[in-house]
Each structure stands twice: as structure tokens, then as C-alpha cells.
């Protein structure tokens, strides 16, 4: 048909016109605000930027060290209370749809992703070799820290060691607790070897304060070995919550010994030292004293725009001028914890809690028992009642302007923790509490504690109670307590004392939190 022919001719003509006028690159994409994957990880600067991202992930999302992870740890322990959203943590009934888990889980794995990207991509970059090794060591340190956190909080979890490629989204099955620790030890082995010392300079490159150091890797190794050692010890004694640790091939004593070895490395380092005296000690928690000599690895808070942490607000009473405006005082200690598990005359408690504060209407003064605050109305002078919680003073930042502008650092691991871990491991190895005296007392003396510890003649059971008490006094509200209770097999006992027989019951399933439904529903390999 003539008409059809004409139409075809016109169509062809038209198509040609279109092709000429609109060449193909009209539909090419150029992402202005981001870098395309193929254009990244090509240079030394890229490797450093990739590593900075891996550090930034520690505190970027709300779920990790910025906020929720910390509240979860406090709420899961016997220390006290966290947000109203943490009811199930208080009662030990955390379900897989608990609102506090998904973001935490997602943020930790997001941090692992950036560490994996550095670990996989950096070896191919042409750059200074010592710097490259350091970058790899730091990335491996971070990855080890993430998996150490995951395995202690969730138990068996997927162990992803390489960035996912397209087509691999189905997800990995969980790895056993043993396999995860094995990877942690491999990574920390690299970190010990490749990370540099504090402020060390090589080939003109400075190891900035705040980066993971070789000593930090030893400290983390100490924590990991001690966790395994005590968890396996209690599992052998019949603690069902620590049953996964029965997989570990060696006797607990071997792990205690490894903990000591690594702690020795930390103590031998000139880069970190205890405060010389109680006056120096008194400032180690100051907001402007981040990365001081007692701190081995810290999450970096800064007054730079958007680089603050929420710590001041999370732990200090609201409206008190001790933190920025905003929400506040989420994480608090309760009287039952203080009465039962803290040395209330020890300056490491008395001098690190908030003893008095005011908000616009009410005066708060700590009561004699140090379990709460007498409240009086400022304008009328009338007594109101006692608020039975105690706030820690470890995270005060008076210069913070809003809830995320605190320059307080979170102490992931600090020297005092290593001293206490060494004390514990030595005593367990020798089955002799007296051996712990030296390390425990080193901490007491530098803080001006009147009495010294003497384990001589005590049973190991007594010693374990003592070391937990010592750790609570030194390290309260620093995120270690939940793991101390589980690895020592006393989670149920301690929680019942604090939360009572109805709310405080903790079974073996409560030693770890359920993998959140957002993961298990999307991952066919996980129930």
C-alpha cells in the first residue's frame, strides 16, 4: 500500500533525525554528588579516605557507638535503666522484632562493609608500602572490633569478609562463634603487626591520635582471650548461656595465658600510662581531655560541625547544663545496683558520679546512701521527694550546645580495663587471688583509694565477685558490664538481685540478643 510505504519512509526519516539530534550520550548518567565505584580506590588519597569512612561509620548512624548500641548495653546489664523503648531489655524478653536491634545491626554491618572495602581494595594501590600496611592494619582492627561486638551481643552471625558483588545479595548463613573469633584473631594479628604506635611517624606520615594502634590491637586481643577463657570456664561448669564457647579447643587456662601475654604487651608500651596521681586521675574523663594517656582506643567526639557525640546527653541529666540541650539522662544507675555491686566509698565511684545538679525548677542533691537525689523546689525551697537514680559524671560536657555536639569520646578500651583483665587472668591462671593485688592496686593507688586490695586467702569464687565489683567500680557505665556478667556466668543471679525475681530472670537464651527480623526475613540462610 502506498500509504504504508509513505509511513515507513517518514518513520525512517524521523528516526534518523532523532539519532542525529539526540546522540546517545544524552541518556548517560553522571552522579554529581558522588564518586562512581570505578573511579575510587585508585590512589593513596583514596585509600586514606576509604579508611576514614570506616572510622566514621563507628559513629555515623544512630545504631552504633553514637547512641543505640551503648543504650542497649546499659539496658541489658544490671546497672540500671535506659530509654522507655528498652522495656524488653529490662525484663529479659527481647524479641526478634525489638525496635532497638535493627539499626544497631545495620550500622555495625555498614561499618564492616567499609572496612572490607579498604582491606580488599588497598593492596592493589600503588603507594607507600608502610602506609599501605598501616591502613590495612587499621581496617582489620576495626573489622575485628565489629565482629567482637557482634559475637558477644548476638552470638553466631554472618561473617562477611569481602564487599558484596552484584548477585551475592542473598546473604550468608551464620558462622559459629569459634569461626568468628578465629577471624578476629587473624585480623588482630595483622593489626598488631601493621598498626603503628601512638603518633608514630614513618616516611613522613603521622599516625594521628585516634587511630587504632598496635597497642590497641593487643588490648582488644586481651579482651577477646579473657572473654573466651571465662566463658569457656563457666560453660564447663555448666552455664548453658556460654555453651557455644565449649567449641573452643583449648583449656580455659590457655586463653587466660594468652590474655596475660597481650596485656603484658600493653603494659610494656610507653605510649600509654596510668595517671600519676589522684589529681591527674581526676581529669581523665574531662570532655577536653580526649585521647589522654589512659585511653587506648576511643570513638572520636569533637566540637567540629557534626562531629560531636551524644554521650553527654545520653548519660547526664537533662536541662542541668552538664550536657547540650535536648533529651538527656537516658542511661542511669539504679539503687539496687549501687547498693549491691559498687564500692560506694571508692573515689572511682564517688568522684565520677554527678553529686548535685539543678534544672530550671528543681535542685537535686545526692543522698547519703548515694542512691538518689533529694529534690527541692528552687523557688519555694519545698522538698519534693527523692529521685532514685544516679547519673554518672563520666560524660559531662558543659560546652555542648545540643544533643549531638558533645566532644566526649567513648572509651572502647582503656588502660585500667587492661590492668583489671590482667589481674583476673593471672589469678585464674594461678588459681590464686593474691596475684591480682598488684594490678588492682595500681589502679586504686592512682585514684587515691584509701584501702588496697588483698586477695590473699580468698577463694576463687570470692575473687570473682571481687573482680566484678572492682570492674564495676572502675568501669561502671562504660559498656563492659553486660559482657562481664555473661562471660562470668552470673547474668541471671545479678539481674535478679537488681531487678527482682519477676523481671530479673535471665535464661541461657538471654546471653545474646536475637538476630533482628530485618535480617532473618531477608536472609534465606537464617531462620
Amino acid at each position: 500500500m502506498v500509504v504504508m510505504k509513505k509511513i515507513i519512509q517518514v518513520t525512517l526519516l524521523f528516526g534518523t533525525v532523532l539519532l542525529v539530534v539526540f546522540s546517545c550520550d544524552l541518556i548517560e548518567e553522571d552522579p554529581f554528588t558522588d564518586i562512581e565505584g570505578s573511579e575510587f580506590f585508585n590512589t593513596e588519597a583514596d585509600a586514606l579516605a576509604g579508611l576514614s569512612a570506616a572510622y566514621a561509620q563507628l559513629k555515623t548512624g544512630n545504631g552504633y557507638y553514637r547512641q543505640q548500641w551503648l543504650s542497649n548495653l546499659i539496658a541489658a546489664s544490671d546497672q540500671g535503666l535506659s530509654s522507655f523503648n528498652h522495656g524488653a531489655f529490662r525484663t529479659g524478653t527481647i524479641s526478634n522484632s525489638d525496635p532497638n536491634l535493627p539499626v544497631t545491626w545495620t550500622n555495625i554491618y555498614s561499618a564492616i562493609k567499609d572496612a572490607n572495602n579498604v582491606i580488599v581494595n588497598t593492596p592493589n594501590i600503588d603507594m607507600d608500602e608502610e602506609l599501605r600496611d598501616r591502613i590495612l592494619g587499621e581496617a582489620r582492627f576495626l573489622r575485628a572490633l565489629h565482629y567482637f561486638n557482634l559475637v558477644r551481643a548476638f552470638g553466631p552471625v554472618p561473617l562477611r569478609l569481602e564487599p558484596i558483588q552484584f548477585g551475592e545479595e542473598a546473604g550468608l548463613p551464620v558462622s559459629s562463634v569459634l569461626n568468628i573469633y578465629n577471624q578476629i584473631f587473624i585480623d588482630l594479628g595483622f593489626a598488631v603487626k601493621d598498626c603503628w604506635g601512638k603518633l608514630e611517624v614513618r616516611n613522613g606520615y603521622v599516625n594521628d591520635l585516634g587511630r587504632a594502634t598496635d597497642v590497641a590491637a593487643h588490648a582488644l586481643l586481651t579482651k577477646a582471650y579473657l572473654h573466651i577463657a571465662s566463658a569457656k570456664r563457666t560453660a564447663l561448669e555448666g552455664d548453658l548461656g556460654n555453651a557455644p564457647y565449649l567449641e573452643f579447643p583449648l583449656e580455659p587456662s590457655r586463653y587466660y595465658a594468652l590474655a596475660v601475654t597481650n596485656a603484658d604487651e600493653v603494659l610494656a608500651s610507653p605510649d600509654y600510662r596510668l595517671a600519676a596521681n589522684e589529681f591527674e586521675w581526676a581529669s581523665i574523663f574531662n570532655a577536653d581531655n580526649g585521647n589522654n594517656d589512659e585511653m587506648i582506643f576511643e570513638i572520636q567526639g569533637s566540637s567540629l560541625t557534626e562531629q560531636g557525640t551524644a554521650l553527654a546527653n545520653l548519660f547526664s541529666p537533662r536541662e542541668s547544663g552538664l550536657a547540650g540541650g535536648g533529651f538527656g539522662g537516658t542511661n542511669r544507675m539504679i539503687p539496687n545496683f549501687i547498693n549491691n555491686y559498687i564500692e560506694t566509698s571508692d573515689p572511682r565511684f564517688t568522684e565520677t558520679i554527678i553529686r548535685e545538679f539543678q534544672n530550671s525548677t528543681t535542685d537535686h542533691i545526692l543522698n547519703d546512701a548515694q542512691t538518689g537525689y533529694f529534690r527541692t523546689n528552687i523557688s519555694t525551697g519545698e522538698a519534693i521527694n527523692t529521685l532514685f537514680v544516679v547519673y554518672t559524671g563520666k560524660y559531662i560536657d558543659r560546652s555542648a550546645t545540643s544533643e549531638y555536639t558533645s566532644q566526649q569520646n567513648w572509651h572502647v578500651v582503656r588502660l585500667a580495663d587492661v590492668y583489671l583483665m590482667r589481674a583476673e587472668a593471672l589469678a585464674e591462671l594461678a588459681q590464686n587471688p593474691a596475684i591480682a593485688n598488684e594490678n588492682i592496686n595500681a589502679l586504686r593507688m592512682r585514684a587515691g583509694v584509701a584501702s588496697l586490695y588483698n586477695g590473699a586467702g580468698k577463694t576463687m569464687d570470692d575473687f570473682r565477685t571481687d573482680i566484678l565489683r572492682e570492674r564495676a567500680t572502675e568501669l561502671h557505665m562504660e559498656g563492659h558490664r553486660f559482657f562481664d556478667l555473661t562471660r562470668m556466668g552470673v547474668y541471671n543471679e545479678y539481674c535478679i538481685t537488681v531487678h527482682n525475681a519477676t523481671r530479673g530472670v535471665r535464661g541461657p537464651e538471654d546471653y545474646t540478643w536475637p538476630i533482628p527480623i530485618i535480617e532473618s526475613s531477608a536472609n534465606a540462610s537464617i531462620d
Binding site: V3, I7, F14, G15, V21, F22, L26, I27, E29, P31, T33, I35, E36, G37, L51, S52, A53, A56, T91, S95, S97, P99, P102, Y109, S110, K113, D114, N116, P158, R160, F166, E168, A170, G171, D208, G210, R211, Q300, L304, T305, E306, Q307, R318, E319, G325, G326, F327, N359, S402, E403, T405, Q407, A501, T502, G507, P514, I517, E519, A522, I526
Partner: protein, 1074 residues
């Protein structure tokens, strides 16, 4: 409208010279070049006229400058100005002349309605006039079968619009809007549309008074023209142009005055009732404690016989209730927050033409108060449409649409952190025992009753918070239509669309959020520009019995988005509001988005008919979108359709009752590319970091690449018929369809352990099937004219498969408890509600303990334990938990069917229009019911829920002794339908069937009563009284079953989370036609 113009033509005096001449002329047919005997030649504005002779010639005496109107049956009428004494006229054939011609726009071109083989419904300006609304979407309500529009009572707020069900998840249900031939990008809030309370109407820049008609393209034969973006249906909006007739002038003024109220207030507790509720919490808790068989000490368990004293029960030591005496305060926060809102609108339009062309000018002003105090929406719209007849063969069309809107939005959005609730939620939940703040008070006085959180009362939120939204929208198109010859025409069209949306927010320290951050300001803007070029060639020819209409179109469009958000906190002083960031203590890094995407398309359509009885249309469109992966950019979207006008067949031609019958069938494919750009690429984004206070920024991998990312494709079959009976007194349009959408684009949740918890992928298949039925009839047609239109549509929707080995995908989280009550499950409708089943309330400890569930207690909700938890040895655990494994389907947001009934009556100068709309099914997940029916906390609750809640048989009497007495008459432990007020409640904020409500409703949507005065010279004045949402019949206990919280977020359909309350309006209007 047409009559008005006719009057105008008749009455407007034509100034003329009295210079009479004799004109001689011939009339010929243009295409055949034959003379036309018997053609009518009339003098315009006059009754004089002659008829052409056998040679087509005529003679007539006229004045110079007069207009001759020459008409002939089957030809297009032509007008000629007399300047010369000899005139030659060529009339063009008009194939449509013999029927009543309805022109239907398909966006790129118009067709005669009778030639349609696709399913297209038209809503004309007459109907638009009867539904007095400030938004276009409202006008579509109930008018078109298959189109479901969810009311938005928020001025300028967003609507949920869906055509034939939900076939896209990421793309939502919003159809493609084509305004004056240009596919537009919907208006978007500068902060994004997916937040609750953040949505904005896609079309808020259009003034309904400027709309000539709206066409809704439903089936693939019609939507395939838009190929890549047609999958959700296409809505074609044509603004008014002037009448083609020369010398017609019309000037119209429309004035509307509106008053609106909240449809209904919910019955929550008054002050004294709330105090009783607070007291009852303590008493119920006491009773629960002392009857607990597991209580530790003392060993007495209360059974109604023991004395209630501190010796027996330590809990009674110093026992008292929080409100032994009433404070006497009783504030109805709904009354404080809502108001009668006044609005007025003024519209002026001039439309007129001459032989050089015509022009339509209109200006509209709208000032619209919201029913929430201090909220408003104002708009100025300007519309200029002109046609210029450059030459006989060349016409230029220009269309300009300019709109500016501004207003203070009401903060109805519920922030999902820190219990930061929006105004509407707070109006219900806020404690009635607080009064409005006086100058010396701050909202810290609310902390004790709000979990220690400092929250704002709804009135403070509404009045103190500034949330200024402004929008500018310019849509300009210019097209040139050149008639190459009588069969061929070519059109070149260019358009530019600029949208600027800004949003400026300031939270002063008198609000919760402002207090948290010492004042917080957020300023954002979104600039969206679009360039559009279209070239089209059309060939239209009739030879003998064959008709051909072929068109070839090429288009290129490019959209640029530029967003910037600035945020600062720590102002210290509220005085400078968001105007000055220098006052801020902390200025955040600006967040910016730049993106660009383009679409290159080619389209060929061939329409063929035989004897205008058998129709056959084929479409083929190719689209290339930059958003997809390399080599996956191009999509091919074909369609084919058949039509058969059976009533033209001899066997039906003489049938009495069938006056017209057309059968239609179509099949076609359309696509969807609703994703943001760059999703196929692996991306690294900047991320800020510091080491010991020194900035050290990095790049984090932010997007997983997806080299397979491609089009979402919808295949649609449609079978339908148009049937007119009894001389078209009854008109039936029926369409049945089956739509299958493949490669559904979705933000797919992947295991977060991969490092990403979601990415954009082609995710599964959705099927929608159903039918649309529309019956209209002229019931009376004498003195009283009564026309009735009934629309009915039914849709069934199923997610038939997922592109993975998983059974379901978890939807987004909702509410403060961050639960995930929506899932996408293969074999179920899209986005069903998923949660725990409940079965009443535990009466006592015996029942509670028998359940074995961890949080069971008297007065708690009895959840059904569908999945027995096992311990490591495979035995049922001693303590059972209610978690995700126990959940089942608890609701489905997809309506079973929807309908609309319009009745138009006309008697003399009176007219009356009544519209009733309704829906069956369509479940609603009401987030605030967690508190309002769940009696969970210290916030207010529904009175009905409280009155039916579990209640312990004890009472507080105060005094020295016997503070608490046992009183069995108070007992409501058995048969309570709602849980107890308790101090320490169990798991109440998990998603369960208690949050899901039936969204069925019938609503008297619109009534319009008008009276038209005819004035002299064809001028007239219509006065009308109109009402919207006058009566609603529904079982939904919230404000409004037409919910709108997430109407632009298709993953959260059916969720009511502090939605703007439904509004009833009364409108008094005047329309002058000069």
C-alpha cells in the same frame, strides 16, 4: 458554556461601516475541487442569507467588513470577511460533521471519541464547575470508574490517586499527569514527600477554574502512548482556550467563599475522667500485684476475702492514688487546635478571538485557611493560552501556566524519634488536665506524664512552629502546527517547566524540638527543571471506506533536580527565626542533591478503520531512560486494539433499544521508571570524620551497583463495550482488565549483614484484575432534567511472585515502636498488614498463667501464640514469646470496590448536583490506636475504650483506715474488650489486629445547588451553594476513612498516623459571565 458564548455572539454589537456592496462568489469543496450547490451563505450577526446555485455561485448584498458564514453538510463551516466584491470559498470535508462529535485528547493528539478503541474517560468543565474545589484531584473523586482518589483536607496537601489498583510499589500509584500536552513532574515537597505530613499535591499549581477537561487514560491501548510512564494510568489535563469563533468575547468572574470545619471530633476522656483513669491505673496495678499467685512476700494472695490492709499486703503501706481530688481542669485539645476555617477564591478570565487567533487569560487568587489553627495555603495562578493563525497552514499555540503558592503548613507529621508527635496525634493524646500555657510557663511541666519527655501541647505546636512552604511553578509550551497538505500535518513542540519548592521551618524553644536544640531552623529548596522537545507528524486520510490516522512522534526530555537543605541549631533566641543563620550556634553541613535524568522516546501509532465501523490501532513506543543500567536503558512498549461499532451492522441498525454499541479489545505494554537516578551505579559518598578534633573526611560506599536494573513493565488486557440505549438515554461503559506488572521496581530489602540493607532491584510480579462500570442515564428530560451517573469499580490485586527465594519482604517500620506491620508476600495482595492475632483480654492470673506467655497478666491483651517456641532440644519452651513468627495477616489496605453516584438535576434556572462516593474494604492501620485503644500509657485514651477496659473490683476511698476497699460491683475483669489501665503494662505496642480497622465508607461528597439569573445581553449570573463531605457513614473510629498520611509512599498504604482530620466545607459562590 456554549450557550453563553452564543448569547454573547448574538448580543455583542458589531461596529460596522454602513458601506453596502454586492458580493459575488463561488463555493467549492477543497479536496475534490467540485462546486457545491445548495451551500448556505449567511451574514454573521444577521438573519440574511442565500443558498448557492447549481454552479456553487451566490450573490448577496452586505456591508464591507461583514462576515459571511458558509456552511455545507459534511463540510467544515467557514467564515469569510468581506473586503472584495468577488469571493472564492473552498470548504474542507468534515468527516465528523454528521455525529455529535466529542473530541478526546490523548495528550499528543486528539481523536474523535467514537474512533476510540482504548478506555478513556473524560470529565468536562461542566462537571468541574459543579464540584467546587481548590484542587484538581478532588474533582476526579467519584467521577471516573476505576479511579480512586483519597481526599486531602489539608490545604495544598497531597492526595492518593490510583487508577485500577496498585501495580507498582516504588512508583506508587500516582498516574502520569500531562498538562497541555506536556508530561509534568509532580510537585514535590522540598523536604521530600515520603515523610508523614510532608506530602504535597502533585497538581497544586493548577487552578481548577482554568481546566477545560480532564481525560483519564486507563487501558494499555491508551496509556501505551506514554510507554515508559503509562503504567499507572495517565491523566491528561487541558486548560481552557478561547472559542475559535471570531468576535467572541467572554469575561468571567468567579467568587467563592468557603467555611470549613473538622468533620468530627473523637470522644476522648475529659479532665475528671482522665484523672479517674490515672487513679485506676494504680488501683488495677495494685489488684494485679496482690492477686498474683507468684508474688514473693507476704504469702497471702488476695481472693476477695482478706482484709485490704498493710499488714496483709505490703503494697498498701502508704498507698494513695495520684488524683485523690480532681484538679478541675478539663481542656478539650481538639477544640483548642481546630477552628472554623474561612477561605475565599477569586478568579477572573477573559477569552476571546479574532481572525488572527484567540487568547485566554485568567488570574486566580486563593486564600485558604486550614482547620488547624495558624495553618493556611495561598495561591496565585495565571494562565495564558493563545493561538495565532500565522498563515492558513501554520498555527502557533502558546500555553503559559504560572503559579505561586505560599502558606504555613501544619506540622501533622509524626517524627519517629523521641515521641515527637504531630499536631493531630497530640490533639487526641494530650492530657486534658493541662491548660494552655501562660507566658511564664514552659512545657517542662508536661514531662512527668510523658515518660519524662518534654513534649509540646498541640496548640503550642500549631501556633509556635513555623513551617512555611512556598512553591513557584512555571509551565510554558509553544507549539507550531504546520499543515503540509490536507493529509499531513507536522507539529513541533517545546516546553519548559520550572518548579521551585521551598520549605522553611523554625522550631522555637517553646516547642519540644526547639527546646531540645535551643531553636532549630531548616531551610530547604528543590529546583526541578524540565526541558521538553517533541516533533510529531500526522497523516490522516480517508479514502473510500478506509480511514487511516498515522502518527510518528519523537520526544526528548531532561529533568534536573537541585536540592539544598540547610540546618542550624542552638539559636539561643527565637527572635530571628529561620531568617538569620548567623545567630545559630551550630550550622550543619548543607545537604545537597544534584541529579539529572533524561528520556528519549520514539512513538509510532497507526489507526485504521473500515467504514468507521471496524477499528484497528497499533502503537509502538521505544523509550530510553538514563536511570537504568547500561544496555538496559531501552524499553519497547507495543500495544494493539480493536473496536467494532456493532450498532452500525444491519442486524442491529433497526433495534429499538440499542442506539449505539461498540465493542473494544486491547492489549498493550507500558513501563515505569519511578526510581531516583544513579541506582544502577556503585557509588561512594562523602562522610565526615575526625581524629582528635582534626577533620579527616572519607568516602563510604553508599550504593550497590545493579547492572541488571531495568524497566518495570506492565502488560494489560482490556475488554469493554460502550452501549447507548433508547436513543442514548442510557449509556453504559464497561471495561474488564487484567494487568500484570513484571520486574517490579522496589527498594528490595537484602540481608543487612551484606553491608547494605536495601537496594533498588526488579523485584517481582503483581497482578491486578477487575472491572470498571459506568452507567449514566437521562432519567427525566422535560421540564425537570435529571441525569444520573453511577461508577463502580472493583479491583483484585495480588503479588504473584517475588524475585527471590524468600516468601515475603518486610515493609518499612511504622510508629514509635518501629514495628513492621506491612509485608509484601507472594500470593497475597500488595502491602498487607501483618501482626499478632488477639482474642480479648485476660480476666485473671489463672487465665494469664495458663497461656504460658511471657507478658501475660490480668488486664493484658490475649495474643494468640500461633508458633510454639522450642528450646534447643526441640521441646516447647517453658516461657513462650509473641514474636514475628506468631504473626498472621491482619488486614489488607486494598479496597474491595469503590463507587461514585452523581445526580445532576436541572429545573428552569435551578440546578442541583449531588455526588455520593464510597468504598467497601480497604483496611486502615491506625497508629494512634496503640495508645487510644491500648490504654498503654499516661496519654489520653478514647472514652469508649476506657469504659470497656478491664477494671479491678477495688476502690480507693482515702481516709485514715480502709483506704482501699473491695467492691465487686466495680468488677469488669470478665468480658472486658479493652486492656486494663496499668502502671506496668505488657506488650501493647506490637502490631496486632487491634490496630486494623475497616475503612469502608459511604459519603455525601458534594452537593451543589445553583440558580442562574439571565441578564440582558446574554450576560448571566449564577449563584450557588455547595457543600463537601456533608455526611459520612463509616465504622472507622479515627477521623477520616480517607486517610492520607503516607499517600505518596506506596510502601505504607493504609496507615493513619496523625493524618489531617477530615473536613466538611460549605461554599457560597457567584459566577458572572459578561
Amino acid at each position: 458554556m456554549k450557550t453563553v458564548i452564543l448569547y454573547l455572539i448574538l448580543f455583542i454589537p458589531i461596529v460596522s461601516f454602513s458601506q453596502e456592496i454586492m458580493v459575488t462568489g463561488t463555493v467549492k469543496s477543497g479536496d475534490l475541487n467540485e462546486t457545491l450547490p445548495g451551500a448556505t451563505v449567511k451574514v454573521k450577526g444577521d438573519n440574511r442569507g442565500v443558498v448557492t446555485g447549481i454552479d456553487g455561485g451566490f450573490k448577496i448584498n452586505v456591508n464591507k467588513g461583514d462576515v459571511l458564514v458558509i456552511s455545507f453538510i459534511g463540510m467544515k463551516t467557514m467564515e469569510v470577511i468581506v473586503n472584495e466584491p468577488i469571493i472564492k470559498v473552498e470548504l474542507e470535508a468534515d468527516t465528523e460533521e454528521l455525529e455529535e462529535v466529542v473530541i478526546v485528547s490523548q495528550g499528543y493528539f486528539d481523536v474523535n471519541k467514537e474512533d476510540l478503541t482504548g478506555s478513556i474517560v473524560q470529565v468536562g468543565s461542566e462537571q468541574i464547575d459543579l464540584v467546587r474545589s481548590n484542587s484538581i484531584e478532588n474533582i476526579l473523586q467519584g467521577q471516573v470508574a476505576g479511579v480512586v482518589v483519597s481526599e486531602s483536607s489539608e490545604p495544598g496537601g497531597g492526595f492518593g490517586v490510583s487508577i485500577r489498583g496498585t501495580n507498582s510499589i516504588l512508583g506508587g500509584t500516582q498516574p502520569l499527569y500531562v498538562v497541555d500536552g506536556i508530561p509534568i513532574n509532580p510537585n514535590e515537597d522540598a523536604e521530600g514527600d515520603d515523610n508523614s505530613g510532608g506530602s504535597q499535591s502533585s497538581l497544586s499549581f493548577l487552578n481548577p477554574n482554568d481546566i477545560e477537561k480532564i481525560e483519564v487514560l486507563k487501558d494499555a491501548a491508551a496509556t501505551a502512548l506514554y510507554g515508559a510512564r503509562g503504567a499507572n494510568g495517565v491523566v491528561i489535563i487541558t486548560t481552557k482556550t478561547a472559542d475559535e469563533n471570531e468576535g467572541s468575547h467572554s469575561f468571567t468572574v468567579v467568587i467563592d467563599q468557603t467555611i470549613s470545619h473538622v468533620n468530627n471530633e473523637l470522644d476522648v476522656l475529659t479532665g475528671p475522667e482522665y484523672e479517674e483513669f490515672m487513679n485506676q491505673r494504680v488501683l488495677n496495678q495494685l489488684y494485679s500485684n496482690i492477686t498474683n499467685p507468684n508474688r514473693v512476700s507476704p504469702e497471702i494472695i488476695f481472693d476477695g476475702t482478706q482484709e485490704l490492709n498493710a499488714t496483709n499486703f505490703a503494697e498498701l503501706e502508704g498507698f494513695s492514688v495520684p488524683y485523690p481530688e480532681s484538679t478541675g481542669v478539663s481542656t478539650n485539645w481538639q477544640d483548642e487546635t481546630y477552628r472554623a476555617a474561612y477561605s475565599n477564591a477569586l478568579n477572573m478570565a477573559y477569552r476571546g478571538g479574532s481572525q488572527f487567533g484567540n487568547v485566554s487569560l485568567s488570574l486566580g487568587y486563593l486564600s485558604n485557611e486550614g482547620v488547624i489553627v495558624d495553618s493556611d495555603f495561598n495561591r496565585v495562578t495565571m494562565n495564558i493560552n493563545a493561538t495565532i493563525n500565522v498563515k492558513k497552514k501554520l498555527k502557533i499555540y502558546t500555553k503559559t501556566n504560572l503559579a505561586r503558592s505560599w502558606g504555613n503548613a501544619s506540622s501533622t507529621g509524626n517524627g519517629q524519634i523521641f515521641q515527637q508527635r504531630g499536631i493531630v496525634s497530640q490533639a487526641l493524646l494530650f492530657q486534658p488536665i493541662f491548660e494552655l500555657l501562660d507566658a511564664s510557663q514552659g512545657d517542662e511541666i508536661y514531662a512527668t506524664l510523658n515518660n519524662g519527655n518534654i513534649v509540646s501541647n498541640p496548640y503550642t505546636l500549631a501556633t509556635e512552629l513555623t513551617d512555611e512552604k512556598r512553591a513557584t511553578n512555571l509551565l510554558q509550551s509553544l507549539s507550531a502546527v504546520y499543515r503540509i497538505n490536507k493529509d499531513f500535518s507536522a507539529t513541533l513542540k517545546g516546553a519548559y517547566n520550572f518548579q521551585r519548592n521551598t520549605r522553611d521551618i523554625f522550631y522555637p524553644q517553646t516547642t519540644t524540638r526547639g527546646r531540645l536544640r535551643e531553636g532549630e531552623a531548616i531551610r530547604s529548596y528543590l529546583d526541578r527543571t524540565k526541558k521538553y522537545v517533541e516533533l510529531n507528524l500526522r497523516y490522516k486520510k480517508k479514502f473510500n471506506k478506509h480511514g487511516i490516522d498515522a502518527i510518528v512522534i519523537g520526544t526528548y526530555e531532561e529533568t534536573n533536580d537541585e536540592r539544598l537543605q540547610n540546618r542550624a541549631v542552638g539559636f539561643g533566641n527565637d527572635a530571628t527565626s529561620y531568617y538569620n543563620f548567623e545567630a545559630a550556634g551550630d550550622i550543619f553541613v548543607p545537604r545537597s542533591v544534584f541529579s539529572e535524568f533524561s528520556l528519549l522516546s520514539g512513538l509510532t501509532r497507526i489507526g485504521y478503520n473500515y467504514k468507521r465501523k471496524y477499528f484497528f490501532d497499533v502503537n509502538a513506543r521505544v523509550d530510553a531512560s538514563s536511570k537504568f543500567a547500561d544496555n538496559e536503558e531501552t524499553g519497547f512498549f507495543p500495544s494493539a486494539s480493536l473496536g467494532w461499532i456493532a450498532s452500525k451492522e444491519p442486524f442491529l441498525e433497526n433495534t429499538q433499544f440499542i442506539s449505539f454499541l461498540k465493542l473494544r479489545a486491547s492489549y498493550g505494554q507500558t513501563g515505569s521508571n519511578p526510581i531516583v537516578p544513579y541506582q544502577s551505579l556503585e557509588l561512594y559518598s562523602p562522610i565526615r570524620n575526625n581524629f582528635d578534633g582534626a577533620l579527616n573526611n572519607g568516602f563510604t560506599q553508599s550504593n550497590l551497583n545493579n547492572p541488571d536494573l531495568t524497566w518495570e513493565t506492565t502488560e494489560q488486557f482490556n475488554l469493554g463495550f460502550d452501549l447507548n440505549m433508547w436513543d442514548a438515554r442510557v449509556r453504559i461503559v464497561f471495561d474488564a482488565y487484567l494487568k500484570t506488572t513484571d520486574d517490579l521496581l522496589q527498594s528490595v530489602r537484602i540481608p543487612a549483614s551484606n553491608g547494605f540493607d536495601s537496594y533498588i532491584d526488579n523485584f517481582g510480579t503483581v497482578e491486578n484484575k477487575g472491572f470498571d462500570l459506568s452507567i449514566s442515564g437521562d432519567i427525566l428530560n422535560r421540564g425537570l432534567k435529571w441525569t444520573s451517573l453511577v461508577n463502580f469499580s472493583l479491583n483484585r490485586n495480588e503479588l504473584t511472585s517475588l524475585n527471590s527465594n524468600l516468601d515475603f519482604q518486610l515493609g518499612p517500620n511504622i510508629g514509635f515502636a518501629r514495628t513492621n506491620p506491612i509485608i509484601f508476600r507472594a500470593g497475597s495482595p500488595v502491602g498487607i498488614f501483618w501482626g499478632a492475632q488477639t482474642d480479648g483480654i485476660y480476666a485473671n492470673w489463672e487465665e494469664a498463667n495458663a497461656s504460658g506467655l511471657s507478658n501475660a497478666a490480668p488486664g493484658e491483651i490475649r495474643y494468640i501464640n500461633n508458633n510454639i517456641d522450642l528450646d534447643s532440644e526441640g521441646n516447647p519452651s517453658a516461657v513462650q514469646e509473641i514474636n514475628f513468627d506468631d504473626y498472621v495477616q491482619i488486614g489488607d489496605p486494598n479496597p474491595d470496590f469503590t463507587f461514585g453516584i452523581t445526580n445532576n438535576l436541572n429545573y428552569g434556572k435551578w440546578d442541583l448536583s449531588i455526588l455520593i462516593t464510597g468504598q467497601k474494604g480497604g483496611d486502615i492501620f491506625w497508629v494512634d490506636s496503640w495508645q487510644l485503644n491500648g490504654i498503654n500509657n499516661t496519654r489520653n485514651v478514647l472514652k469508649e475504650a476506657y469504659d470497656n477496659s478491664w477494671r479491678a473490683p477495688i476502690a480507693y476511698v482515702g481516709g485514715e483506715d480502709g483506704q482501699v476497699i473491695y467492691d465487686p460491683t466495680l468488677d469488669r475483669t470478665n468480658g472486658a474488650s479493652e486492656p486494663a489501665a496499668l502502671v506496668d503494662t505488657g506488650a501493647r505496642a506490637i502490631p496486632s489486629d487491634r490496630q486494623v480497622f475497616d475503612g469502608s465508607f459511604v459519603r455525601l461528597k458534594n452537593v451543589n445547588l445553583g440558580y442562574t439569573y439571565s441578564l440582558k445581553n446574554g450576560q448571566n449570573l449564577r449563584v450557588y451553594l455547595s457543600g463537601r463531605n456533608l455526611i459520612t457513614i463509616t465504622d472507622y473510629p479515627g477521623y477520616d476513612p480517607e486517610i492520607q498520611t503516607y499517600n505518596r509512599d506506596p510502601q505504607r498504604r493504609g496507615v493513619d498516623f496523625g493524618s489531617y482530620p477530615g473536613v466538611r466545607s460549605y461554599i457560597l459562590g457567584l459566577k458572572f459571565n459578561f
